[in-house]
């Protein structure tokens, strides 16, 4: 076995890519700060039991686990929203908080490509907020963030878990069966969903609605189509809510960047209201994902309605590269070399230039020849007699 290689699904990020990543993070930080979000970091290592016992537990096979010296089971942060919800419920006093983070998470099951096992993320959580205006603001901010990172032609696809949950709760399915139906509907596989529901004894009206659910995507016209299909109160409430969110987004000028898909059923069980994904043509998986999770903090001892999203920064870099929107690699502004005995003068020049905010490289080798190896906009050679521009 080659021990110099990395395990499957994780990657090193080399300087050139790292610089772009840093640039994207800087743009996001500015957007987060300008919009009143405060930074937060959670520990990368937590107890397995913290997340195993809650209602919204992640599947255990997806967590990276190891044992503490006392034998307790630990996990590498499997999800940033879970951690932040825990922090908000156990450590923050204020009723409201708008937080942003740059937190990576680990998913043991992913295997590379667009699905990495180490997921480099940025995200925001709006805690203690409810209602369509909060949802619409979060979606609008997600779109702003996508453009702020340098992406073009961004779309946010919006759904609501109430549509699917409403239809499924009519059928009285077991959790395992409901999960199977959710996965089928999320894949727009109406055939299998119908087969499962028929076996569970669902009525013809429910079956017709379930058949149609995967086709209910597009613009605002889907709301009327959905209403014509069902009398289910939970579904209708979800559609009303989405329509309100749509109205606000249109009023805020984001209509051309949003579309709706009532058949969305994300696999994270903590979502309780709107869910959304940020899409660009160039990457085959969402670059951003989020939603409302009003009941998650209950598991940590406090009721905090909340909404937020996370951005997959690796996918953003892929999109920027494919869209041709990668920022230029900046050359250092100046390179300096000196002869032996002029080190003090050379370093004084370096200090003066960096003090002016310029990026400077001071050669470690003596002689004017050392400048040939350094790429820079301006080059200086320092001798005991003085400074010469090359």
């Amino acid at each position: 076995m080659n021990l110099k290689k990395l395990p499957t699904g994780v990657q090193d990020i080399l300087p050139r890519e790292c610089r772009v990543l840093g640039d994207v993070r800087a743009r996001l930080t500015r957007a987060f700060e300008l919009n009143g979000y405060d930074p937060v970091l959670s520990a990368a290592v937590e107890y397995y039991d913290t997340y195993a016992g809650i209602r919204s537990a992640l599947p255990q096979e997806r967590m990276f686990k190891f044992t503490d010296s006392d034998g307790r089971l630990l996990v590498l942060r499997p999800d940033a929203t879970l951690s932040i919800s825990r922090i908000a419920a156990t450590k923050l006093d204020a009723a409201h908080a708008r937080l942003y983070y740059f937190l990576d998470k680990w998913d043991a099951q992913n295997a590379g490509g667009v699905k990495s096992r180490e997921i480099i993320q940025a995200g925001v959580e709006r805690l203690g907020e409810e209602g369509a205006f909060s949802d619409a603001q979060t979606i609008a901010f997600a779109i702003d963030c996508m453009y702020a990172m340098g992406l073009s032609d961004c779309i946010v696809d919006v759904g609501h878990v109430g549509c699917m949950k409403g239809l499924l709760e009519e059928c009285g399915l077991s959790d395992a069966r409901a999960e199977e139906v959710r996965a089928s509907l999320n894949a727009k596989d109406a055939l299998n969903a119908e087969r499962l529901l028929k076996a569970a004894g669902a009525g013809e009206e429910t079956l017709a609605a379930v058949r149609a659910l995967p086709t209910l995507f597009g613009g605002a016209e889907v709301f009327a189509r959905a209403r014509a299909l069902t009398k289910n109160a939970r579904v209708l409430a979800a559609v009303d809510h989405l329509e309100k969110v749509h109205r606000i987004l249109a009023d805020m000028g984001y209509e051309k960047n949003v579309c709706f898909d009532l058949g969305t059923g994300k696999n994270l069980s903590y979502y309780s209201g709107i869910v959304f994904s940020g899409l660009v043509r160039e990457v085959g998986a969402p670059v951003l994902s989020g939603g409302r999770y009003d009941d998650l903090a209950d598991d940590f001892g406090k009721h905090i309605p909340a909404v937020g999203f996370a951005i997959g920064l690796k996918r953003v870099l892929m999109a920027l590269e494919r869209q041709g929107n990668l920022p230029e690699q900046p050359l250092p502004d100046a390179a300096i070399a000196c002869e032996e005995g002029a080190e003090g003068a050379a370093d004084a020049l370096r200090r003066r230039l960096t003090g002016e905010g310029r990026r400077v490289v001071l050669a470690a080798a003596y002689g004017e020849g050392a400048l040939a190896d350094l790429a820079a906009a301006q080059k200086y050679y320092v001798t005991k007699e003085g400074v010469r521009r090359i």
């Binding site: 032609d153 894949a187 727009k188």
Partner: protein, 210 residues
Amino acid sequence: MITFALPKGRLAETSAALLAKCGVDTSVLAKDTRRLVLESADGQYGFFLVKPADVPAYVEAGVADLGIVGKDTLIEEGRDLYEMLDLKMGECRLCIAGYPARRDALTNPHLRVATKYVNTARRVFADREEIEIIPLHGSIELAPVTGLADVIFDVVQTGSTLKANGLVVLEEVFTGITARLVSNKVSLKTKAGEILPLIERLREALHEDL
């Protein structure tokens, strides 16, 4: 441009014929070529010809926007994509088959299952008995005949191969296994203007066939 991942082999010709019927210029597919990446003369469509089992991988990653693939492969691969249409082609069933009475039950307490659908078999048997999976790539029926396995888990179309070897279907696990039109989840939304009309034409073409 819309790109398709199309399966080589059994479904290749019927897939091309169906697309042609919907106004997709597929003449480039009819030419005898060793090139794997093809483009229609009008530049509107791209085609990759890949092994059937690889279609979901291309579509999930978004390298191809749309693909045609058997439901058996979709179940086995479990990829994150949209199934847009049942193309009603190549219908078969995924079955457990073997001899009417199990043979080496005394010396092989675990049921030995030969299959090329390793993931699916594992899921199917997860809530039942303990099994040992024997992954094979073809001629699965040979496994119980030669004593390599007790049963097989495989697609059954007419059942004639089973019958010729003295095997019977013990259980139909998935019926209605047909070819499906699948879409990348992002492409469906970001290229809706190109993809949705095409899907509508396919739906109509399928309807006419029935």
